[in-house]
Symmetry: D2
Subunit: 128 residues, 4 copies
């Protein structure tokens, strides 16, 4: 486990620009948060898919980089279930599989009503 | 075909905030552009996966909403092939299948060297 | 809920041909079973990805068709974690989201050691 | 390139059992064929998703193992567009990206009318 994973994630400029904050990370798990406001809306007036994905993906990065070495996303799939409105979105990543070179995580994104907004499944490649 | 799809896409506040611009859209196709700068980098100093996804996803929205009705992403998968550096990224979406309620698009993201950065496959749900 | 979903699944000729048996189904959940033998191996001598997918996909069909109407798979993603050997494989499907036209299921495939072989995420389109 | 990839694929017992035949393979490309008959149908009377996936996945194996080393599927996503009837299905795999440890392929499955039945995107892990 990497001790300073929260500090490392503070270096993620895009996450900071979008307003994504990692609030917990360690042992292959992580929790991220996005306060969705007007800047995160798409042309339909709901939170843009890219903003939701970015929250999940940043949380994946925190979870996977809490392990030894450097992990980069290789493949991700995401399913969207409910249109998200402005407000706080939370992503929770858990590790499904950890192999030497590949690891897979499931990330759930929920809104303030605790409804599931999206389910994200990501496989990372682990560099030595 | 929707005549004013480029104008509609101008209403996407998150795309604008991130710096994504749709430069062509119509007949199920679209082309998007992102000038990746320091704000788009992750903790490893390469363009963040969420920024690349957002470019592809916005281009998917333009391509799929160039058809009748309103289309929202239901499922997306993305594979990343090469770390992207600062510079211009281009996404090109094409329609693979168009059914009454579902349609599927393939989006290629390339960098200034014309190298393929990511391949994105998205299925949208078409509301009447 | 469909009362006779197990009987309906008995009509799946490919599942029968491959040796897949649905042993429980109802309320958006299902459990399937495959006794993997020599016929299910690939050129490397491990259970072929198509056999594992077919087990998961048949279990998805049982889970999603335990709801009203007819459901057909629209998009699926699967990640493989461990090479499966001959023996009993079990798939367990649970419902993640149920909307009017789309529903999403997560299917875990485990081997006799209860190790996770694959994780499958499937979205179905629900016909009236 | 592996010279005898077609011979290697003949050792795939599940492919043989299902009736899948690789008819061309080399340089990261491959073509597979399935004569879908009554044994390949699901409870709705159309070709089962697992049979279509197995055809695509076997063609992926042929394409990816036409390169040096041994490749095994890590992640796959598939989208289904049209219900397939009994008859000949053809899968064509092409290489999208080839890195040292990971490679990605796109596989199109078409029916006798040359209609696109499914699009399959697979990432393999390359063992030395």
């Amino acid at each position: 486990m990497v001790e300073n994973i929260l500090e490392v994630m503070e270096q993620d400029k895009f996450a900071k620009y979008v307003g994504i904050k990692i609030i917990e990370a360690g042992d292959g798990k992580a929790k991220g948060r996005l306060q969705a406001d007007e800047n995160h809306l798409n042309a339909l007036g709901i939170v843009q898919g890219g903003a939701i994905f970015s929250l999940a993906d940043t949380t994946l990065a925190a979870a996977s980089n809490s392990r030894e070495g450097t992990a980069v996303a290789a493949n991700v799939s995401i399913s969207y279930f409910k249109a998200a409105q402005q407000g706080i979105l939370i992503a929770r990543a858990k590790e499904i599989s950890l192999n030497r070179k590949l690891a897979t995580y499931l990330v759930e994104v929920t809104d303030e009503q605790e409804d599931l907004i999206a389910l994200f499944q990501g496989t990372v490649y682990r560099k030595e």
